[in-house]
């Protein structure tokens, strides 16, 4: 995985609360055995009409959204299904961070394992970002800050180990495999009990 330190981009804004993973990628696109190419189906039922043509009103289809790496969404982003296809689709599309006031637990875990940064902000910051689409933001993972265009910096919380892994581009499996001795000891304790 590529290390992440700074993400600098204009924002694309989806002012909708409770965006569930069925919206991020509908279930009919889960009949796959790989992770590749899911960006085409990102937000498919909002992005395309019943005939499969791009819906010109949907924000991701507008010219100003092209190339944006930061998505600003309403409250409780990523609720519902545990499908990791949701962050796979967001990353494949080109997004590197999502900003919301709150993330669903499983989605947050899945996102962090795929180099997609879930940035939790307070209601006021969120409201401002939702009302001002397209602004240029700088997310600094090292300092855990989000810099707004007026220079204001907002701190965001992130689990310490996930941050360490993202900053260094390492995955958690290596760490778990390194706990082999402890795992074996635990299994011996359990089978003795």
């Amino acid at each position: 995985m590529e290390p992440i330190r700074i993400i600098r981009s204009r924002t694309v804004v989806l002012p909708v609360d409770n965006i569930d993973t069925d919206q991020i990628i509908p279930a009919r696109f889960l009949r796959t055995t790989t992770k590749e190419g899911l960006g085409r189906q990102l937000f498919a039922d909002w992005r395309y009409d019943a005939q499969g043509q791009p819906n010109p009103d949907f924000v991701l289809n507008r010219p100003e959204a092209q190339g944006c790496a930061i998505l600003v969404a309403g409250r409780n982003f990523g609720c519902g299904s545990s499908r990791e296809h949701a962050p796979w689709a967001l990353v494949d599309y080109g997004l590197r961070a999502v900003i919301s006031t709150e993330f669903a637990d499983i989605f947050r875990n899945n996102a962090l394992k795929n180099g997609l940064l879930p940035v939790t902000v307070d209601e006021a910051t969120s409201a401002w970002l939702l009302a001002n689409p397209g602004v240029e933001l700088t997310i600094d993972l090292e300092r855990t800050t989000l810099a707004l265009p007026n220079g204001t910096e907002v701190r965001f919380p992130i689990e310490a180990f996930a941050r360490y892994c993202l900053l260094n581009g390492i995955d958690e499996l290596g760490f778990l495999l390194g706990r082999k001795t402890e795992i074996e000891a635990y299994e011996r304790r359990r089978s003795a009990a």
Binding site: V16, D22, L30, R31, G80, R83, N109, L177
Partner: protein, 463 residues
């Protein structure tokens, strides 16, 4: 109770810098969220550490039409057939027990785990599926994980986890006739909201919960995730033990006695502290039904759609549903009725639906699908003659699977149609692009199928 299970599974406790290494007792897998995790093992040259604690079935994209499973007809969707073949190949290669498409114990993963007795009190159980919370009905700590984490469990039998907070939902008094576990959990989600449980493990307590059978308790824990909770749990008791004693893979003989001793230590101690508590009175509840595009948008069936015109999210949901604020929910016409899913496709759910349908026919123009949660539920229902009640009423009786809850196998609802479903999610497009889903109990689903309109089941139960 949660703390006891958590502490017993800490391989390495959490620190400010690192999450806990948590041992997993049972890893359930299915065809949709496992292929990429097997690929990870191959890339790294790793085996599955504990194939004996790993158990596979196929349910999400599997056909429900008998001829496509047993009759030699091809599986209609090639992409689904490919996922099924891939799981067979992966299980062979990594030595994992699989209940394959024609196996007589196959079914929805969250229905067969308990049915076989694999699900037991005090276990940690994970699956690449958010409704893994179902297994918490037995006093297990059970939660959904992503595919990368499926790979972690394959390789190490462990997960890196931060300890969640606890939320007690205390349900006083008893449910009234015609009001079921499904109505109770919908009322709870309506009260705390779809993010109300985020970061928490819910323990459901109180008289109404104790009075539920295991099927009802599973319905409650199943939808914990719809309140955003990491997991839901119910303390094991005599009801739990009686259920497990009849399952094929529960401990037997001396091992059963030893397990029983352990399980009886699990319930929360008197005076246990929770990070949050919520109280609800079961005796005031009515049958519940959703009207919007998440499970928290729910009203009593005798009620009206709320009027929050000034809330753009609310307006968007109502526009999708084609509903007017302030209008009664009852008597609205429906097109499709689905009785099935890991929420409500156990034997007692089918009995409830059959109780309403016995001697009646579903309304003209309504399509009704009854999809048992497992092949065992199917056989039990057929032994009781429930299938004849459904077929004579005009419903379709299918083979088990997730089916129209998620529509991955082609069992979908057409754009713009109204589906009254006993499943767990009424998200936009959940049952098919443009489909409009209303969630309710099997009783409400069956009653509404008879009238072709949203119907309070108590009107038909009294008749």
């Amino acid at each position: 109770m949660f703390e006891k299970v958590w502490e017993a599974h800490e391989v390495v406790p959490e620190t400010p810098d690192t999450p806990a290494v948590l041992y997993i007792d049972l890893h359930l897998i299915h065809e949709v969220t496992s292929p990429q995790a097997f690929s990870l093992l191959r890339e790294r040259g790793l085996p599955v550490r504990r194939p004996d604690l790993t158990f596979a079935t196929m349910d999400h994209s599997t056909p429900t039409r008998t001829e496509q499973i047993f009759g030699g007809a091809p599986i209609a969707l090639e992409s689904a057939a490919k996922q099924i073949r891939e799981l067979e190949k992966n299980c062979r290669e990594f030595g994992i027990e699989l209940l394959d498409l024609r196996h007589d114990q196959r079914g929805i993963v969250h229905i067969i785990g308990p049915e076989l007795g694999l699900t037991q009190p005090g276990k940690t159980i994970v699956c690449g599926d958010s409704h893994t919370s179902t297994h918490g009905a037995f006093g297990a700590l059970a939660f959904g994980i992503g595919t990368t984490e499926v790979g972690h469990v394959f390789a190490t039998q462990c997960l890196l986890q931060r300890k969640p907070r606890t939320l007690a939902v205390n349900v006083a008094n008893r449910l009234r006739p015609g009001v079921t576990a499904k109505d109770l959990i919908l009322a709870i989600i309506g009260k705390i909201g779809v993010a109300g449980g985020t970061g928490h493990v819910i323990e459901y307590r109180g008289e109404a919960v104790r009075a539920l059978d295991m099927d009802g308790r599973m319905t409650i824990c199943n939808m914990s995730i719809e309140a955003g909770a990491r997991a839901g749990m119910i303390a094991p008791d005599e009801t739990t033990f009686a259920y497990l004693a009849a399952t094929p893979r529960a401990p037997k003989g001396g091992a059963w006695e030893a397990a029983l001793e352990r399980w009886k230590q699990l319930p929360s101690d008197p005076g246990a502290r929770f990070d949050r508590e919520v109280d609800i009175d079961a005796a005031t509840l009515e049958p519940m039904i959703t009207y919007g595009t998440n499970p928290g948008m729910v009203v009593p069936i005798t009620g009206s759609i709320p009027d929050r015109r000034d809330d753009p999210m609310f307006a968007k949901a109502l526009e999708y549903m084609g509903f007017e604020p302030g209008a009664p929910i009852k008597d609205r016409p429906i097109d499709v009725v689905f009785v099935g899913s890991c929420t409500n496709a156990r034997l007692s759910d089918l009995r409830a639906a059959a109780q309403v349908l016995r001697g009646r026919r579903i309304a003209r123009g309504v399509q009704m699908l009854v999809v048992p949660g497992s092949q065992q539920v199917k056989r039990q229902a057929e032994a009781e003659g429930l299938h004849r009640i459904f077929i004579e009423a005009g419903a379709e009786w299918r083979e088990s699977g997730c089916s129209m809850c998620i529509g991955m196998n082609g069992d979908t609802v057409e754009r713009g149609r109204y589906s009254l479903s006993t499943s767990n999610r009424n998200f936009e497009g959940r049952q098919g692009a443009g489909a409009r889903t209303l969630l309710a109990s099997p009783l409400t689903a069956a009653a509404s199928a008879v009238r072709g309109r949203i119907t309070d089941p108590r009107e038909l139960l009294d008749a």
